[in-house]
Symmetry: C2
Subunit: 157 residues, 2 copies
């Protein structure tokens, strides 16, 4: 309103051109479609990520699971006892190094995963149709590039 003309008077690009913000917006827009579906199965977004990671990659220690799910080990320490008491995962100490906790998915957990996966894929297919298969591929490539562009993403260590 009372800005002269020197850019926007803000010394900063507009909020809509904040990459973290747009990534958040895009993610929230997508999750709006998935959340009710997960909720119907009694799963939080984070619990679903854990089941999915374990179903795909097998048993893992806490740090590896956290990296794969993008969930902090401290959060996992709180979540995993619940998932375990519900019989969806198991935890055991590593034989050779007692510091490590090895987490794995149970048969019950895998059965749940299969059910949820089926419906999730349908939602995903719908999203892919709307965005376009080619654009989606490009989007993945650019996201990968942005991830790799980070200073030290500590992929392995």
């Amino acid at each position: 309103m009372s800005e002269k003309k020197k850019g926007n008077g803000l010394a900063m690009r507009p909020f809509a051109r904040s990459l973290p913000m747009q990534l958040l917006r895009a993610r929230e827009a997508l999750m709006q479609e998935f959340r009710p579906h997960l909720r119907k199965h009694g799963l939080s977004e984070q619990q679903w990520r854990v089941l999915r990671a374990l179903a795909e990659a097998g048993s893992m220690d806490i740090n590896a699971l956290g990296e794969m799910c993008q969930i902090h080990p401290a959060s996992l320490s709180r979540m995993l006892p619940n998932l375990e008491s519900e019989g969806r995962i198991e935890r055991r100490n590593d034989r050779d190094d007692q510091r490590y906790i090895i987490v794995s998915i149970t048969a019950k957990g895998r059965a749940l995963f299969q059910r949820v996966a089926k419906e999730s894929e349908q939602i995903y297919a719908s999203i892919e149709r709307r965005i376009g298969s080619s654009e989606l591929k490009t989007l993945y490539e650019l996201l990968d590039k942005a991830i790799r562009a980070a200073p030290e993403n500590a992929q392995e260590k």
Copy 2:
């Protein structure tokens, strides 16, 4: 290991091709660079979004602020009293409709915004160099498309 060959035996595309997951990964990778910077100024990621939104768009009611910042009104109800007691924002009731709370940034808040904005832009410029200006532009376009592809993003209502 013991999978036959039917895809990956998972009835689901790999985790790395989950769009919400890659959006989260990319966002986390970027925020790793911004968070220490914000922290240095005593701002949480969410507090910074609020200041930025108010600096850019002027005063707003809670719902509009929540939409712009992607922060739930319930979370804002908890955050805003803190920002207000620190003298960074102000709240007042709408004259014509007492249900609305109008939030605005103070001079002190704006001064803080300007300081943080300056450094943020430098970090952002570094990221833009690494990703590439052209790719970044394409990335924004695809993110916009993904956001618009959502069923009903309730932009206005």
